[in-house]
């Protein structure tokens, strides 16, 4: 069976996960994103590429930043954007996911941007569209359960490339709640594909999935040891809302051991960059002095995220 996100010519039809996506496609997306960054500085922040296309932001789970950046990306490409906060609409009345999709297709949708609490929901939609002969409609996964968040992974790669130029000589550390993080999964897959020689994962045993080493990463349970000489520190958010039971003592306790402070960051290379997918819990996983410090590239990540999403949308809609 072919990768459900590629069409029969091997081009990107949907963006569902970064797992298994060839390096050429990853690089093509990053290369395409670069000229889109310039659009934000123009008098008219708009390109005509997706004029006349209808994009539905289908958010079954709350997210302000991701939905907003997808919306801005689509609008800067001149698409018509409809935001559906599905948690408060038809599903509450009992409509199934695929019935919702069929109804929106009947409204001439060209693209769905899907966020769902269940892993695999965007794949299900993509397969449904394929099975019903609607190959011209594209799906972008904007985060599904603990599975994947490919555009976040891509914007992280874009950010690293922007500041570090090359991937093949880097040591990258991912720190924190990997267990609940779809972002971490997308990051690890992309970093490996792009040839990062050393990927480290740093966190408490209770927040790291088992068998992490099989993904080709080095696992550290001591933050100071793990941060030594790294080029990139990718912090994760402590996902309180996805936790069942007591995996942690208290946020204060977590901060003491796993929070990124200036003192711990000093163990990394002096030119190391600090990333965070947001929203940040200041004083839990990251200290304000670091989050607002000279090494933080957290706000540029947001800006690059718009260009990366513009690139993905225009590559998909042009297939």
């Amino acid at each position: 069976m072919r990768d459900p996100q590629l069409n029969k010519h091997g081009e990107l039809q949907h963006l569902l996960t970064l797992d298994g996506l060839p390096r050429e496609i990853l690089n093509a997306i990053l290369d395409t994103a670069a000229p889109f960054t310039e659009v934000a500085e123009r008098e008219v922040k708009k390109l005509p590429l997706l004029r006349g296309k209808s994009i539905f932001n289908l958010f079954f789970e709350n997210s302000t930043r991701t939905r907003t950046t997808f919306e801005i990306a689509a609008k800067r490409l001149s698409a018509d954007v409809v935001n559906l906060n599905v948690s408060t609409s038809s599903t509450a009345k009992g409509e199934s996911l695929l019935d919702t999709v069929d109804n929106l297709c009947a409204m001439q949708a060209d693209m769905f941007v899907v966020r769902h609490a269940a892993s695999g929901a965007p794949v299900l939609i993509a397969q449904h569209l394929q099975n019903t002969g609607r190959d011209h409609i594209h799906v972008i996964n904007a985060g599904d359960g603990r599975h994947a968040h490919p555009t976040q992974g891509l914007l992280d790669m874009y950010t690293i490339r922007h500041y570090k130029r090359e991937f093949t000589n880097l040591t990258v550390a991912i720190v924190g709640d990997v267990l609940h993080s779809r972002v971490a999964r997308s990051q690890i897959g992309a970093l490996r594909t792009l040839g990062v020689p050393e990927i480290r994962v740093i966190g408490p045993k209770t927040l790291l999935p088992t068998a992490l080493e099989q993904l080709g990463v080095r696992v550290f349970h001591d933050m100071r040891e793990g941060l030594k000489d790294v080029d990139v520190v990718m912090m994760l958010r402590l996902q309180n809302e996805r936790m069942n039971g007591a995996l942690l003592p208290t946020p204060q306790e977590f901060y003491k051991v796993w929070g990124l402070t200036a003192e711990k960051l000093a163990l990394a290379r002096p030119d190391a960059i600090v990333m965070h997918p947001g929203p940040m819990n200041r004083g839990v996983e990251i200290d304000s002095a670091v989050a607002d410090g000279a090494q933080a590239v957290i706000l540029p990540q947001v800006t690059f995220g718009i260009a990366v999403r513009m690139a993905v949308m225009s590559m998909l809609a042009g297939q």
Binding site: L47, S314, M315
Partner: protein, 166 residues
């Protein structure tokens, strides 16, 4: 077609443009051949405004049928377009669609006072009401659509025009 001497045409184009430009004239090259040519013109004409470059990938009218061009380049307009005298530079003028796309893109940066077009060769085959104010050579017969004519730049910077059979 190999009898077209790109270097001689370039020298002619410079002499055509010289009396018409002032130090404030701004040049914008269209990727890729147009940018090379614009660099040469900019230097030879001694223009003071920084050189601009446009990649029309995001403005092409065949996006719907052909998709996004691979590896688009950054568009850079490093001068204030508002009220400027702008000359768009391309190596070869054909259907006029690329010029149309470049005009649309340019206007998203502001309202220029006037826009002109300079090309090395007009190969005929226009599909839009577009003409070049400065043109070093017009082919006596339009080239067939199966052929493509493009500027090439050698490592030492020398220009050549190459005809390719698709």
């Amino acid at each position: 077609m190999s009898n077209l001497d790109a270097e001689a045409l370039c020298a002619q184009l410079i002499e055509q443009m010289r009396p018409q430009v002032s130090a404030d004239t701004a040049l914008v090259g269209i990727h890729t051949g147009g940018v090379w040519l614009a660099e040469r013109l900019h230097l030879a004409l001694g223009l003071k405004q920084p050189l601009g470059a446009i990649d029309v990938s995001f403005y092409r009218d065949d996006y719907g049928s052909k998709g996004l061009h691979p590896q688009p380049q950054r568009t850079e307009i490093p001068f204030n377009v508002e009220g400027a005298h702008v000359i768009i530079v391309d190596d070869v003028l054909y259907t006029g669609r690329t010029t149309r796309a470049a005009l649309n893109e340019l206007f998203d940066f502001g309202r220029p006072a006037c826009v002109e077009l300079a090309v090395l060769v007009d190969r005929g085959g226009r599909e839009l009401p577009i003409g070049a104010r400065y043109c070093a050579h017009t082919l006596p017969q339009p080239l067939p659509a199966s052929q493509s004519l493009q500027l090439e730049r050698a490592e030492d910077g020398t220009f050549a025009l190459r005809l390719i059979d698709a």
